[in-house]
Subunit: 486 residues, 2 copies
């Protein structure tokens, strides 16, 4: 982690009406009102809530950390924070990659770790009602016992929480087939900035009564309200996956294979790309015997019933070979498939063994993947920095990872330069600066560049309508009037 | 159509700052600023824009009707309406069933009929960029020429416009498998209340930069902005459908069949229910030889490849027979299937041959369909009114249709009584007062009952943030402070 000047940082802004010493008084009020609530105020404890997983990010030391167990506690805390004009930062498992859960100096962090219970599995309607603190993989395991499947699977699914997933509208490997988190949310319980509790949605598949508040809250990174309960759609557990690896002589060929599969109407459940640098890092870590000379590898999976899966992968092989794949290998069985998929999930960790990694999260329309890969190569070459690119190529989402020596003094400068060029290139190709990690505080400066000032103006006006004091995770997503970076 | 007192009506409220004669001045300003814009001011012309397809609804005579052809024209009109403090009503094809496009006395109607061009079909990314005025079926036909498929298919798809579909987040027959309109929208161009033009989303499958404005605008019935362009997702054309009819001795048995298919993980592309009254009306109209003694019929379809479709329908037959289906018939071929599906689509028209029809649009969690069917039977029996119920049973969406003699003087009173009881029953079962038709002005009084005052308060605050003067389709969705029914 760099120790130089912060590259992107949470803001400070005096909350309107806040007086000096207001933080101390809030803590006293919480103790008095909610004596049973776990409240951390020791500096060492607070320090551990300063960061999320976003590298190169300036963060603040929380005033205190509360760990509520019920909606009523969250509501009471928000009422007090609102009354005392103190900002709050909601936090799931802290695995975010955009600074969404990073601490803000003088703000109260509300950690949802203890609100991790599944409240109901409704087999008939195929929904699960859950508290937000549950780990994604735990939820998956629970519902699997009922023959049910919750698709969204961020690479960090063994560590990240559902609440955090809701915050960023998290994606993952299988969203090429099954969509992102928002597509699986039917309803929420939300605590508003002043402590009011509302419900959105429900268990209805179709429901057009009023504005789409559920959809709006998902992806808002805790800037509009705090979700204390979620009703999630499930589907029957699909068959075990059939897995295919395809190796290509150039990145562009792999991009063409992705486009070819889209055009052919193939809907694999996984369609992941790894470039040579990543292939080698993964192979070094796991000794899988991958083709280290290939420029790119695709991991392609089908979860159709056995015969249909074979047919789908046959078609994928045909497409890959038609664009020049040099080697195509099928996993012998589901276990080998699981192992290969797990290796892909750990690509980030494989890169981290080499150095300090700065992961980006670019998305482009699927047809522009080959161009975007060329642009990435060109930019990182110009900056002379090592880069491993992998990602969810099937939906145009690429993660270029810059890899630095741990004490490289130029890391910050290069990271910023490369980021700026890649973001502008993505936008130029009709893409996005963040496909699944969120704007948070780390990409704040690029939101207007992508969306335009007027569209961001609409977002700001919605923020002001729901949180007039600006106490909900301030400086995440965008700065409000009067806010400034630290 | 009844001639008695209005049962639900658009509101009037002085727009803040509006002076007497402001409507006349707006029309003059439009003529002066946009001489090429088609503007209707004759009373006979304006009369034809008074109503949509919602029966028993008080409506207003528009001040004038503009038919823009470009985004620039819509933007200019909104700038002028904003300046002159005149309300506007956006209108697609006028087929809505909640009064969303119904005229408001003294307001300007903006009809999107002439903005009906497809701007681009992007085969590689499988998206279509279109103006909002295009008819749903025309869009389907255009993209089909490129081997592509736009799923949302309201029963009125031959008449309704994409813009109107966006307004209500329209559903249809195949949304049990493919979701509603919102699920197929990647981006919008939106003209705001003051004429500002913004863009939301784009062509990226995954994109989490900022709030989900696209999702929020869809379903807002023109109360937050006017969409002038939409980027819609497409998918490859699926195989022709295999079609099955199953007849049941009780409504409850058909409900159990639906629940059984959900539980078995069957994902038919159509799962439609018709009750006995509707079966007979449809059979009278089309002479299909349906089982007129059955209490209920399900229309079940698969669009999987041939062998898989057979397997899916075999499984559906097994479920239907296990809950007591008395007769199961497969369509001989796709043409016969098309014919049966078309007969279902025309169920409303079949009922209209018998009398004046008031259609409702209740949704319940799928497991509650049998209970809701019993409640409907019980309520309409008590009121002594004829009722044909059909609907998208696979996603819990039921359309009870009250059928009155054309001059029944008690029609209004009964309609209101039955509606109130059915809405309360649906909400009691965790359902919704509208699954796909929208709140509009006809269900406004029930929004708070379903969502709670605080959740509607959030919606109102979003409305106020985006449309501070309240000029966008006022009184649709909810009343603002100071607004009242006529």
């Amino acid at each position: 982690m760099s120790s130089t000047a912060p590259l992107a940082s949470p803001p400070t802004r005096p909350i309107p009406g806040a007086a000096p010493g207001t933080g101390r008084r809030l803590l006293d009020a919480i103790r008095a009102t909610l004596p049973g609530l776990r409240l951390l105020t020791d500096e060492t404890d607070r320090e551990s809530y300063r960061k999320d997983e976003t590298p190169y990010l300036a963060t603040g030391l929380p005033l205190g950390v509360v760990l509520p167990e019920t909606t009523a506690e969250v509501s009471a805390v928000m009422r007090l924070a609102h009354e005392h004009r103190v900002a709050v930062v909601p936090r799931g498992a802290g695995t975010g990659l955009s600074g969404g859960a990073a601490g803000i100096e003088g703000a109260l962090t509300i950690a949802f770790t203890r609100m991790n219970r599944i409240l109901e599995i409704d087999r008939e309607n195929m929904v699960v009602v859950t508290q937000p603190g549950i780990i994604n993989a735990d939820l998956k395991r629970h519902v699997a016992q009922h023959g049910l499947f919750y698709p969204p699977d961020p690479a960090s699914y063994e560590m990240c929480s559902i609440g955090g997933n809701l915050g960023t509208n998290a994606g993952g490997l299988c969203c090429v087939k099954y969509g992102q988190t928002r597509d699986w949310v039917l309803g929420l319980e939300v605590v508003l900035a002043d402590g009011t509790v509302i419900r959105t949605g429900g268990r209805n598949i179709k429901d057009v009564a009023g504005f789409a508040l559920t959809h709006l809250f998902v992806g808002s990174q805790g800037t509009l309200g705090l979700w204390t309960e979620a009703t999630l759609r499930l589907r029957p557990t699909p068959p075990p996956r059939a897995t295919l690896l395809a190796f290509f002589p150039t990145l562009e060929a792999s991009g063409k294979a992705v486009a070819g599969m889209t055009a052919a109407g193939i809907q694999p459940v996984t369609l992941e790309l790894l470039d040579q640098f990543t292939i080698r890092a993964v192979d070094d870590m796991h000794g899988l015997g991958l083709d280290r000379d290939a420029a790119a590898m695709l991991l392609i999976e089908s979860d159709l019933p056995a015969a249909a899966a074979d047919a789908e992968l046959d078609e994928a092989v045909r497409v890959c070979e038609s664009v020049g794949a040099t080697l195509v290998v099928r996993a012998a069985d589901a276990t080998e498939g699981d192992w290969l998929r797990q290796a892909r999930r750990l690509a980030y960790q494989a890169l981290e063994r080499i150095g300090t990694v700065k992961m980006e999260d670019i998305g482009v329309p699927r047809s522009r993947v080959p161009e975007m890969l060329v642009r990435i190569e060109e930019v990182v070459k110009r900056y002379g920095v090592r880069c491993g690119t992998f990602g969810h190529a099937g939906d145009g989402n690429l993660h270029p990872n810059l890899v630095f020596e741990r004490d490289d003094p130029r890391a910050d400068e290069i990271t910023e330069g490369v980021k700026d060029e890649l973001y502008r290139a993505a936008i130029e190709l009709g893409g996005t600066v963040t496909a699944e990690h969120g704007i948070g505080s780390s990409r704040r400066e690029y939101l207007e560049l992508q969306r335009g000032a007027d569209a961001v103006g609409v977002m700001r006006s919605i923020k002001a309508a729901l949180d007039p004091l600006g106490i909900l995770n301030p400086g995440k997503m965008f700065l409000l009037e009067g806010e400034r970076s630290v």
